[in-house]
Symmetry: C2
Subunit: 191 residues, 2 copies
Amino acid sequence: MCSAAVSVCSQPAAYLILKYDMQPHYKMKKLTDREKFMKEAIRQAVKASAIGEVPIGCVIVYDGRIIGRGYNRRMTDRTALAHAEITAIRKANKVIGDWRLDDCEMYVTLEPCQMCAGAIVQSRIRNVYIGAMNPKAGCAGSILDLLREERFNHQCIVETGLMEERCSELLKEFFVNLRTNQKNKKTEAGT
Amino acid sequence: MCSAAVSVCSQPAAYLILKYDMQPHYKMKKLTDREKFMKEAIRQAVKASAIGEVPIGCVIVYDGRIIGRGYNRRMTDRTALAHAEITAIRKANKVIGDWRLDDCEMYVTLEPCQMCAGAIVQSRIRNVYIGAMNPKAGCAGSILDLLREERFNHQCIVETGLMEERCSELLKEFFVNLRTNQKNKKTEAGT
């Protein structure tokens, strides 16, 4: 999945964000505050896609204001610590000036992995809004539920399925492009 | 626990490290390679203690050489991401130049939390050597066992109890000092 992903997308982030913003259901209905924040998380995910990374984006909100943004840069930064949620938490910590993010909300396009779910609990984030679920590796209800594990000293309030269709669509599109590119490369190599 | 911890220790790290290095059983027997690496993790933990942080230290080893060191700086850096293991992973990633740390070993003085255990799995670290266990919050066998969870796409080889006595002693000493300091402060405030 990962080593080939750099060549998936040659379109710049600005174009891809515009393309998503112009989709019909954004124009048709007025978005709720939560949807607006998830839309910003989706914009972050599109940035990841534009650099060939799996499109996952995240924002952290405090008192109605976004204080941390992040998108997946694992391959680009050459560290598994460059997941969207971790970057957003680091930025939010700087704004709040504390390791505790008690009164914050996180909006993330894909169900967090074990590391990110752990970081959310360690940072004591209050609410977590998730777009698409990740049945193979998610740790907010799929494989495990670290966000609501009663034996930890913090549990989050979790809401799943927020703008799920858009979040899933972004991932599907990325992997379809990835497979097409890999197929084309094999064909080229064979000729 | 945490807000008061800054004032726990006024002795410089160099003195504390020397104090631990001079203890009888270090001088009495020849250390194995694994013990030498854990000893370095303990030195890192002592650095945390010297700045009033809970003493947890970590090193990452590749091909017999330490490529990443870290100690707990959660309060100092004002982020829950400043756990010893996370810092060591970030440094090791820089040395290896890859997010994958497949052939690396981690030595950590205290059983990792859910976030750090997750980061270890995400970074695909092969072996994890743990000093003391953490029955209340550990995720390498105590509360959960994220390092050997078969539903994840990576499992670590885990060994616990390496120089356990020294690792536990360091923590106990820290919390005894913390309680004494808190008691003294209350007495001073009352007089």
